[in-house]
Amino acid sequence: MAAIRHEVIGVRTESDIVQVRQVVRQWAVQVGLGLVDQTKIVTAASELARNTVAYGGGGTLCLEALQEGARSGLRLTFEDRGPGIADVAKAMTDGYTSGTGMGLGLGGSKRLVNEFDIWSRPGEGTRVTVTRWR
């Protein structure tokens, strides 16, 4: 499996979150994802970008266009050197309570993608990798 194209962008401010949505949408279209799949990964990217900005103190997003045999995919890796997540399992279950929820959007994002991977260590940072295949 090869990444035929990749790009790294900074995710530090609120307007970067908007930027992330647009860039991910462009890449999703180029990779050939259908409209619903595009929307899903753009939404997941928005959630994860917000996490990076709000909880991670800013970080980066690496976009990769993948090709595995006949199928193509889009992989996003959000990385920050922030405080990290103490209990990842618990963070994944944080749901959206009606309006007051501080849910990290991780659980929801996981449902929007085909592959989801998270690494986090308190004091070191967090890295979330999601992939959507065609």
Binding site: M1, V36, E68, G69, A70
Partner: protein
Amino acid sequence: MTAYSAAHTTSAGKRLVDILRAHHSDILRDWIEVQIGRRSLPASELRAQCEEFLTLLVPALQNAHDPSIDGVSWQPAKEFLSNLSAVRAQQGFSPSETATFVFSLKQSIFQRIRDAGMTDAASIADDMWAATLLFDALGLYTTEVYQRGREQVIMRQQQDMLELSTPVVTLWDGVVALPLIGTLDSARTQVVMETLLHRIVETGATIAVIDITGVPTVDTLTAQHLLKTVTAARLMGAECIISGIRPQIAQTIVHLGVDLGDITTKSTLADAFRVALSRTGRTVTRTFAGAGPQRNGERPS
């Protein structure tokens, strides 16, 4: 199919057979060497494949009755290439990479043609040309096999799509019905949601009746998928009524503790339709031919 001229067939073909026989191990070694380093394939696997193909080449050439590779003598070699193409495709090789398996054999063959001790430059050129046409044809054959494989996948997917196709029918202005047939798994739910929502946009429906008469079992997962569909429709301003609840289904739902929330459920499509009409502000009036319209127990408008 590319063919090489009959004039060269017998003599060039014979010389090629001789070369293959005389220098089998050298050709094999050189051929393997050219391919190593191109792509990660275990050396033993590559060696086995090369050996088998070389072994198949000789009888194929010897027993060829006509210049093309369509003849029956080429069947075993082509079958081998067919399998190779399929296996390599599965392993993630592109069709070009697989074709190179054949093309890269040319190099060692050409060398041996040159070294065959022939003094006549024209003959050497003729033999190389004959060999070129042959291996080009064989290499192209692998890409054709790959193409056919893809077409089969497409056809199979089209078939799946037809089976999955979700007919959404308009029962009345603003009321659509979606008869579900078969199991409702996660993948199907996505298709169902997409189809239903698009129809809601197209028809401007405010009520969608989802009939589950054709759904064999309703377990917790199916119920979740149904709920997702209902929620998605609601987000677009359409209310759902679920009909076709058989007695066993009703029991299962209660037994499993499935919570259908405030979704209206009816046992028959007819009942659901009646509710849908009423909710969109309509009543049904019975008329008798020759007797004029009569209201039949419906509430007065």
